[in-house]
């Protein structure tokens, strides 16, 4: 029998795309579906998905937990666990449209929840660390339950199928978001598992990724040292945790984080700080071919590995920033562009909302204070 993702490490090739409106104007999911659909041949029907930011303004202070369940038993067990740690304001199945193209869908539910004060104080963790710990426990310890996304005012929609079919299944044309990312997957050895599709998320982070990280085991073992439970054995999971660790836990700027994961060659370093970062975080260098799009509520960053072994194109038009594996995927939804460019290896494309200065609102402590007072 084929092993599921998580039991075995499965490399994958892919297509990625993103569209951001920098002034925060929201638009529906049909644009991003049309963009990723252009790259149909870059995926093989074994995984597609989307991340959407700005989709739940009515619950902007709540953690929106999207969860897959294998069956009702798993749901019951997981919900009991959730109740223990969260006050759940709203609980409902994620609306879907059944089509012949999508099969083997799990039970898909969403919860708008706030951490319980008593549970939070018992764990002696900051709010975000607490939510992250709950998510990791569900994913690694509760069989049959898998948290798809856990951020605020954002959601991930993913599953087994071509991305355009997944988009149709999740009725994405009914959602409004100011930032969409998308992924079409070409795994090389998998029975297809809904949890294994991209994006991979943690809190507000989402990652879509094309590539294979040759440094996976080095990166993974480093992150495990800081309490990350790597349950999926996908490169993408490790990338998401790397960003979470560097920016949320270590408080690095986006620029610094990029200098860690796509570190310039020693011979090309031009700032002592880059050398210092490289020495300190050597084990978080992402080595091997990749192009990734990392998003938060504040915007996105897209970057290649440092010798650009995978494709990545960016473009802009007025308030819109586009990123994709191929220019065709951008032209399909925006035939007229102000600028298109192909970023060099390790050279990030950064797109932020106008009122934001970084991917995270503030250092994590400030963020927690805001959340509590809300």
């Amino acid at each position: 029998m084929l092993k599921l993702e998580g039991d075995i490490r499965i490399p994958a090739g892919c297509a990625i795309a993103a569209v951001l409106n920098r002034s925060g104007q929201r638009f529906d999911g049909s644009t991003i579906i049309a963009s990723i659909a252009t790259m149909h041949k870059r995926s093989n029907g074994l995984g597609g998905g989307f991340a959407a930011y700005g989709v739940y303004p009515q619950y902007r202070d709540h953690y929106a937990l999207h969860i897959f369940y294998d069956d009702a038993g798993a749901q019951q067990m997981c919900e009991r666990y959730l109740m223990h740690h969260f006050r759940i304001t709203e609980r409902e199945p994620v609306p879907v449209r059944y089509t012949r193209k999508i099969a083997r869908a799990p039970l898909i539910w969403r919860y708008f929840a706030l951490p319980r004060e008593d549970s939070l104080s018992r764990q002696q963790l900051g709010e975000e660390d607490f939510v992250a710990a709950v998510v990791m426990t569900i994913n690694s310890d509760l069989g049959g339950a898998y948290v798809v996304s856990s951020g605020r005012n954002m959601a991930a929609f993913k599953g087994e199928g071509y991305p355009e079919d997944i988009g149709e299944f999740f009725r994405l044309e009914e959602y409004q978001a100011y930032l969409w990312t998308a992924h079409g997957r070409f795994p090389t050895n998998t029975p297809g598992w809904w949890g294994g599709a991209h994006p991979f998320t943690l809190l507000n982070w989402s990652v879509v990724h094309n590539g294979e990280i040759s440094s996976y085991s080095t990166n993974r073992r480093y992150l495990e040292m800081y309490g990350y439970k790597i349950s999926l054995q996908t490169d993408t999971e490790v990338i998401a945790y790397a960003f979470d660790f560097l920016m949320r836990k270590e408080g690095l700027s986006l620029e610094d984080a990029i200098d860690v994961i796509a570190a310039p060659f020693w011979s090309k370093l031009d700032r002592e700080r880059q050398a210092r970062l490289r020495r300190r975080y050597a084990s978080l260098l992402l080595n091997g071919p990749f192009s990734i799009i990392v998003a938060t509520n504040n915007g996105l960053i897209a970057v290649n590995d440092r010798i650009k072994l995978r494709p990545l194109v960016a473009a802009s038009r007025n308030e819109y920033l586009y990123v994709a594996s191929e220019e065709a995927a951008i032209r399909a939804v925006a035939p007229v562009l102000d600028r298109t460019w192909s970023p060099g290896g390790g050279e990030p494309v950064i797109g932020l909302l106008h009122n934001q200065e970084g991917l995270l609102e503030a250092p994590s402590t400030g963020l927690e204070t805001n959340a509590r007072s809300a």
Binding site: Y216, S217, E250, A282, R306
Partner: protein, 492 residues
């Protein structure tokens, strides 16, 4: 004295048609195996032959062959020829059997049961001839936050250093050869516990000075005339015992460097007599850091013994910036044979376990891990890095590059290759310029090979090889061995 029951270990064959009676073999053999008499007859005293091949290699007409002395005992799977010979020797001498170099016994080599990965299709391999391939390594405490001052680090352009070999155990020309090679390749050589001779002081920037239980040559000058200081607790070839440089090797030069009288035994006690516990080690580390104004990393070298993980954890918590672990294949200039052949554990297991233990405790960034003992080639380097080491020490491989033929009689001081000797005439046989060139060639060759293997894996910085156990697969190993190494079996 009674009749010796020993037969020679080696047989010396001479092709009379080729021999031109030039006398090279006679002059080259300090053990006086060869003798040319006035009548032009060549005589051999085979029992003196240690199998160092000096004569055979230098013979201009290739007239000499050295083979094992043909003496077959009645087949016995339990009582080997060696075990009989060792008893004959002890019955004659009444002494501890001495030997040199590393453990030669047929214990399992895990290096030979690990296979490396390479990229195919899903991930492009990287060609080191076309793309940058980085081996730059920094050793030391990497745990300081970005807002704090960075701790002192050692920079290596190839993650291979030269093991501690003292002046006395080896000739000064060996140290000169390795020091020059270390400087050229941007790595380090290690003084061993024999102090620092005036003529190698100029290599301070690429020197690691050792502080061992004998404290030979240790002074504030000594500590500061180096890039790093290594406290030697133990050695893979002889864990748990001290050192003994016999009086006949303590030449005036050695005596001066070690600060002891000439032609007297130089004894290193088994333990440091100011370190009877881990907290004492912490004090010595602190003392050395104070003496060097916190400008240099401090390493602690221990032998890989049964509970090495806990020991290494204690060493890191005691403040060491580098932990060097010497496996049971680690070599020596002199060790009791029973100790060398029966004590310690394989370095592959030790590194795998220590690396994981330090991670489990969250203190891995506080210290670098150096693997010593038994690294034979570049593939061994790649494998031990993937298991979790930051760099390796090579000793035997470096000496072989300088000419050593592993005859294992270093302790006699009569090394025909000018390596394990302090005899002035013998030492001259190793020209430090040529020695340096050969050591540099070896490191350059390994550098090329390491880069090729990394590129095949799709990795272009050694940072991403360290601890990357997914790049290893075990072959012919039991499940518990795979578990201990933290690798999965080939095919899985």
């Amino acid at each position: 004295m009674t009749l010796s029951l020993l037969t020679p270990a080696f047989s010396v064959g001479r092709n009379e048609e080729r021999c031109i009676r030039c006398g090279v073999c006679v002059n080259q053999c300090i053990n006086q195996v060869h003798h040319l008499d006035e009548d032009g007859f060549m005589w051999v005293t085979e029992k003196n032959c240690v199998g160092c091949h000096r004569c055979a290699v230098l013979c201009p007409t290739q007239a000499l062959t050295i083979t094992r002395f043909p003496l077959d005992f009645r087949p016995n799977q339990y009582w080997s020829a060696d075990s009989l010979r060792e008893i004959y020797r002890q019955a004659e001498s009444g002494g501890v059997l001495l030997t040199g170099m590393g453990n030669p016994r047929p214990y399992r080599s895990y290096f030979d049961h690990l296979l490396l990965n390479a990229s195919q299709v899903t991930n492009p391999s990287i060609d080191p001839l076309r793309e940058p391939m980085e081996l730059t390594t920094y050793l030391g405490d990497h745990s300081a936050g970005l807002s704090e001052a960075e701790k002192p680090l050692l920079k290596l352009e190839i993650p291979v250093m030269f093991s501690a070999m003292s002046y006395g155990a080896v000739s000064l020309n060996v140290q000169k050869s390795l020091a020059r090679a270390a400087r050229e390749m941007v790595t380090y050589w290690n003084t061993g516990e024999g102090g620092l001779h005036d003529e190698v002081k100029e290599y301070a920037d690429c020197t690691i000075v050792q502080v061992a239980s004998g404290r030979f040559g240790v002074s504030p000058d000594y500590l500061n005339n180096a890039a790093a200081i290594e406290i030697k607790i133990g050695q893979g070839a002889k864990p748990g015992i001290g050192g003994h440089l016999p009086a006949e090797k303590v030449s005036p030069g050695v005596a001066q460097t070690r600060m002891i009288p000439a032609w007297s035994d130089a004894i290193s006690p088994a333990p440091h007599h100011d370190i009877y516990s881990i907290e004492d080690l912490a004090q010595l580390i602190e003392t050395i850091k104070v003496a060097t104004d916190f400008q240099k990393p401090v390493a602690v070298k221990v032998a890989a013994v049964h509970n090495i993980s806990a020991i290494a954890s204690g060493i890191v918590r005691a403040g060491a910036d580098i932990v060097a672990i010497d496996g049971f294949r680690g070599a020596t200039g002199a060790a009791p044979l029973r100790i060398r052949d029966n004590i310690g554990i394989p370095i592959e297991m030790a590194i795998a376990q220590v690396d994981q233990r330090l991670r489990d405790e969250g203190i891995r960034p506080k210290a670098s891990l150096v693997s010593a003992g038994g690294i034979r080639n570049s593939a061994d380097v790649v494998k031990i890095l993937a298991l979790g080491a930051d760099a390796v020490y090579i000793g035997t491989a470096a000496l072989v590059a300088l000419g050593c033929h592993l005859c294992q009689t270093c302790f006699t001081g009569r090394c025909n290759w000018g390596i394990a000797t302090t005899d002035r005439q013998l030492s001259k046989r190793l020209n430090p310029e040529i020695g340096a060139m050969r050591a540099i060639n070896l490191l350059k060759a390994w550098e090329h090979e390491i880069k090729e293997m990394m590129g095949g894996m799709g990795i272009n910085a050694v940072d991403s090889l360290r601890g990357n156990r997914l790049m290893l697969k075990g072959i012919g190993l039991e499940q518990h061995e795979l578990d201990l190494l933290g690798v999965s079996p080939a095919g899985a």
